[in-house]
């Protein structure tokens, strides 16, 4: 059903592009579009889940309870201090090498699937960066807001969620938009763990024809994706500004 939809999308786009595209692109169009859809799908999932994980991490980091603060701090420190590629390889090739006897049947079905591992690592990675962005946003919300919320009897968590967080996200939104673009560019690395995203398809096509134009076509598709993200960020930003009444 979903797969049919994806096929339909790629067929339609390729049929529409065929009059203007060169012979190389026409022949490999469905591969490019398939990869494009895989990248988009992974990004949407990773950024969506990562958003909420980042909020949880940020709350843990500012909660003031060392049981919560320390693990969250260490998590963010490690994920921001090591390259994404290393994280991917540690989890896919490293943890994956323990095999079925080391991991047990349930974990093994998870860790042998590159798509799921890619999603996991991208999610964890982005949540660490976004948590840092949100923490910066929280620091710029006036302290009086929190004091007012607490003094009318709101519990800490609710005050954070309803009063502080919405304002922090508004402040941090431009930085968050940057992180979305960086995430999009970082997602190309999951092709190294055999996921057939846009980069994976590109490398496969290049390995067959050794035509450098292949990379150019992929670059254009990535630019399209970056433009879509920029538009989304700008639209949301205008919304935020309207609701504040400025």
């Amino acid at each position: 059903m979903y797969q049919d939809l994806k096929f339909w999308v790629s067929d339609t786009i390729c049929a529409g592009l065929s009059p203007i595209s060169g012979p190389l692109f026409a022949k490999t169009c469905s591969r490019f579009i398939d990869g494009f859809l895989v990248t988009t799908e992974l990004l949407a999932l990773a950024c969506g889940i990562g958003f909420f994980l980042a909020i949880a991490l940020t709350f843990a980091r500012v909660s003031g309870r060392s049981v919560l603060v320390w693990p969250a701090q260490i998590f963010v420190y490690v994920f921001r201090g090591t390259p994404l590629l290393v994280q991917l390889w540690i989890i896919y090739f490293g943890v994956g090498s323990l095999g079925e006897q080391g991991l047990g049947p349930v974990l093994w079905t998870f860790f042998k699937n590159p798509w799921l591992v890619g999603l996991l690592v991208l999610t964890l990675n982005t949540s660490a960066y976004v948590s840092e962005i949100f923490r910066g946003g929280l620091a710029n919300v006036e302290k009086g807001q929190m004091e007012a919320a607490l003094s009318i009897g709101m519990p800490w968590l609710r005050a954070m969620r309803r009063i502080m967080l919405p304002q922090a996200i508004r402040i941090a939104w431009p930085a968050y938009g940057n992180e979305l673009i960086l995430m999009m560019k970082g997602s190309a690395l999951i092709s190294t763990i055999t996921v057939m995203d846009l980069m994976g398809q590109t490398r496969t096509i290049f390995a067959r024809n050794f035509d450098l134009n292949t990379y150019l076509y992929a670059a254009i598709l990535y630019l399209v994706l970056a433009a879509c993200i920029s538009v989304f960020v700008a639209v949301m930003e205008r919304r935020f500004r309207r609701s504040v009444g400025r």
């Binding site: 490690v78 201090g81 090591t82 390259p83 994404l84 590629l85 290393v86 994280q87 390889w89 540690i90 090739f93 490293g94 943890v95 090498s97 323990l98 673009i181 999009m184 560019k185 970082g186 997602s187 190309a188 690395l189 092709s191 190294t192 980069m199 590109t202 490398r203 290049f206 050794f210 450098l212 990379y215 992929a218 670059a219 990535y222 630019l223 970056a226 433009a227």
Partner: protein, 240 residues
């Protein structure tokens, strides 16, 4: 030494261990990051000059370049440069009448790839820093009769660095981490050594974690240096 080596197992130093190989890899990683950063800074300064110039012919190419570089994955650029530089150099060589079949050294290709990416980011940092110098100072300079070049070299340029340092510090961290991409083009930097070691000793988890720990050490050290530099750059600034 013996005792340390037994604890380290396959990561031990000396004959048969991978400890010294990993450290050499880390050294290559640092060299790669330094070269890419330096080349990127020089190109970034040039690009920032183009972007700030009054001629459209200079401004637009620079704007297009930064837009392109910041919207396309680093990995793609790196692979394109890696595969493209060989064909480029051979095309030039054959057109000049030399025999083809040259190969660009992997290190050079990696430096070229990384530096053309980070030039785009450095350009934005320098542009922001240039515009961050308060206009009152420029007016004051003009008022006491300094020429345009004097205003640039005596007022803007010395202050460029203090406004640019926080951004450049961030950029260095990104460059340091992105050198790991060179492992994919088989340059023997830290991550690739870890991959080779993991395959040979059949314990990839241990080797990748060791590589990760070394990266973490390098970024932590850089962070210390960065905050010291930032403190120094903020000296005497209002609100510091």
């Amino acid at each position: 030494m013996e005792q340390i080596n037994t604890v380290l197992g396959p990561l031990s130093f000396g004959q048969g261990g991978w400890g010294d190989d990993l450290l050499n890899g880390a050294l290559l990683t640092l060299q790669l990051a330094l070269c890419a950063m330096l080349a990127g800074l020089v190109m970034g300064l040039g690009l920032a000059g183009m972007k700030l110039s009054r001629t459209r012919m200079l401004r637009w190419p620079a704007a297009a370049y930064t837009l392109f570089m910041r919207g396309v994955p680093e990995f793609l650029i790196l692979l394109f440069v890696f595969f493209g530089s060989d064909s480029l150099i051979n095309a030039v060589a054959t057109s000049l009448g030399f025999q083809g079949g040259y190969e660009v050294p992997k290190f050079m290709a990696a430096v070229a790839g990384l530096s053309i990416i980070f030039a785009a980011y450095a350009c934005e940092i320098f542009r922001g820093a240039y515009l961050a110098v308060p206009s009152g100072q420029i007016e004051a300079g003009q008022a006491i009769g300094l020429s345009r070049s004097q205003v640039f070299f005596r007022i803007r340029f010395p202050q460029l660095w203090r406004f640019a340092i926080p951004g450049l510090g961030n950029l260095w961290m990104v460059v340091l981490k992105d050198t790991s991409l060179a492992a994919v083009i088989a340059l023997n930097e830290l991550l690739r050594i870890a991959k080779l070691g993991g395959e040979t000793e059949q314990s990839p988890l241990l080797f990748f974690v060791a590589a990760g720990a070394l990266y973490l050490m390098m970024t932590s050290l850089s962070d210390v240096v960065r905050s010291a530099l930032e403190r120094r750059a903020r000296r005497g600034m209002a609100g510091a």
